[in-house]
């Protein structure tokens, strides 16, 4: 191609030409990257804001009969509060470690049951049978006045 204004009687200067091409191409690539980077970063959402809550009031004393359980909100995730037949409070994460279903307390089994694939956990959250690969996270429970306070265990 002889573009207007280029003197074709002179032989091309390969080196100089390569350099110009390199600078031009590199510059274009760099600016394309600088447009794409913000977009890619923008698409990934920031971590959700409500992870901060490490302590939550899960209910009032007397809400639960012995040998029963209920779901409470722990941040954006469900938790399971169990009042055992021995009148003890236990709190667990209610998200099954298998495929994220929400578990429930079964008063006939005295155990925690996941309906999705028949996973069973004991009252300490250990996975006893069925597909769940890991135990449920268990939380600390304190009774303060008539409030049942659930706290995430501090990682050692």
């Amino acid at each position: 191609m002889n573009a207007p204004g280029v003197d074709i009687s002179q032989p091309p200067l390969p080196l100089r030409r390569r350099l110009v091409e390199l600078l031009l191409g590199g510059g274009l690539l760099a600016s394309a990257a600088s447009f794409l980077y913000p977009i890619l970063r923008y698409i990934v959402p920031p971590p959700s804001a409500d992870l901060g809550g490490d302590t939550v009031v899960a209910g009032k004393v007397g809400d639960l009969k012995p040998n029963s359980g209920r779901i409470f909100r722990f941040g954006s995730k469900p938790g399971l509060l169990v009042f055992t037949a021995d009148r003890e409070y236990r709190a667990l994460s209610a998200t099954c470690t298998h495929l994220d279903c929400t578990v429930q307390y079964r008063d006939d089994l005295h155990q925690v049951w996941c309906a999705c694939h028949n996973g069973i956990y004991d009252l300490n959250g250990r996975n006893v049978s069925g597909p769940p690969p890991r135990p449920l996270e268990s939380y600390e429970v304190h009774v303060q006045g008539d409030e049942i306070v659930v706290t995430r265990r501090q990682k050692a």
């Binding site: 600016s31 447009f35 913000p38 977009i39 970063r41 923008y42 698409i43 990934v44 959402p45 920031p46 804001a49």
Partner: protein, 360 residues
């Protein structure tokens, strides 16, 4: 490059690639001292594309309800990485797009590019300009901040002045008697679905017409070329003009980024239907000249409502403007009239805007 030729051959066998791209290789752009004005339409198109892209990105986080809209935009501005950049570019490009659309319109007017056979290109372009203003008006409300809330109240109330159907129109726009969350839902639907759909179709028509009729040469240049044919100069659209255009777009992108970084778009305070309007409330700059005109008309003109007369006058003026090409018979006298009207409109809009900006 082997792969590229392969793909080309493959497409050529099936679609007749050379035939399809024939128009591109044949297309030329006239070269003369007014050639720079040819960039305005392409620049408007580029800014529209920026709006489509950033608009889709904003949709990832935006929530169109009265309870969440403001907070979701705030979230974008403060917490999402580069959210401030995306939103500010969207706002800046919106304003620049309107500016370039107006500039494009006036350049077409003064270069008389609307003449036969391009009357319908003008009409489609004018409707696109109206749609662009519709985008501006509907998008302005979406952050649900105080200014937007009252601007929408005023804007939709002006619609009420239209004779006979005015009240119905206002209810239609507001989704009720008042500006509420229902209005927000409507404007959101208009802004992200209805207007983009219509605009895209009309844009295709506009571009096809431009392609069909070629690029207009101003009558003066055309006459000079006819008198001395060797002076006629053109450049191929592809790649010569397109590369120049891409360069302009690249610069525009840089300008947009700089504007967004140096002057991120404000969010203001959340709309409150039960708070009084802030002092000195004004519409976006491209509505300001109309707003100011309506303010200057006395409340009563004889038996008629001043506002209503103003709204009617704008309607008639807009319609005449839309049909402008049909008044140009090609002889010099009509053309001078039209150029005069163009100058008048430009001066009127500019001075009213300045007045509206300075007025308390």
């Amino acid at each position: 490059m082997r792969l590229a030729t392969h793909v080309r051959d493959w497409l050529d066998e099936r679609f007749g690639w050379d035939e399809l791209t024939h128009f591109l290789r044949k297309k030329t752009v006239p070269v003369h001292r007014y050639s720079y004005w040819y960039f305005l339409g392409g620049m408007t198109l580029f800014l529209f594309l920026v709006q489509v892209l950033t608009g889709i990105l904003l949709l990832l986080y935006y929530r169109p309800t009265a309870n969440e809209a403001f907070e979701s935009v705030q979230y974008v501005m403060t917490r999402v990485p580069f959210g401030w950049l995306i939103r500010s570019v969207h706002s800046w490009a919106a304003n620049l797009m309107i500016l370039f659309a107006f500039a494009h319109m006036f350049s077409v007017l003064f270069l008389r590019a609307y003449r036969k056979p391009r009357e319908l290109t003008w009409v489609s372009g004018m409707v696109l300009l109206l749609l662009a203003m519709g985008f501006g008006f509907s998008g302005y409300l979406l952050p649900w901040n105080t200014l937007a809330f009252f601007a929408t109240k005023v804007g939709t109330d002006i619609v009420r002045q239209v004779p006979v159907v005015g009240h119905w129109l206002m209810i239609f726009l507001r989704g009720g008697e008042e500006v509420t969350g229902a209005t927000l839902s409507r404007f959101f639907g208009l802004h992200v679905a209805v207007l983009p759909g219509i605009t895209t179709m009309l844009l295709l028509v506009h571009l096809l017409l431009v392609q069909r009729f070629g690029i207009s040469v101003p009558p003066g240049e055309e006459a000079a070329w006819r008198a001395r044919p060797p002076e006629k100069r053109e450049m191929p659209f592809f790649p010569n003009f397109l590369l120049r255009e891409l360069m302009a777009w690249y610069v525009a992108l840089g300008v947009l980024g700089a504007l967004a970084a140096l002057a991120p778009w404000e969010l203001g305070t959340k709309a409150d239907a039960f708070a009084p309007a802030p002092a000195g409330i004004k519409p976006e700059w491209y509505f300001l000249w109309m707003f100011q005109t309506l303010k200057l008309i006395p409340a009563k003109l004889g038996p008629l409502d001043g506002e209503m007369v103003g709204v009617l006058a704008f309607g008639v003026a807009g319609l005449l403007w839309l049909l402008l090409p049909f008044f140009d018979r090609g002889d010099g006298r009509n053309a001078r009239w039209i150029a005069g009207a163009g100058v008048f409109a430009l001066v009127y809009m500019a001075s009213m805007s300045v007045y509206g900006y300075l007025a308390p």
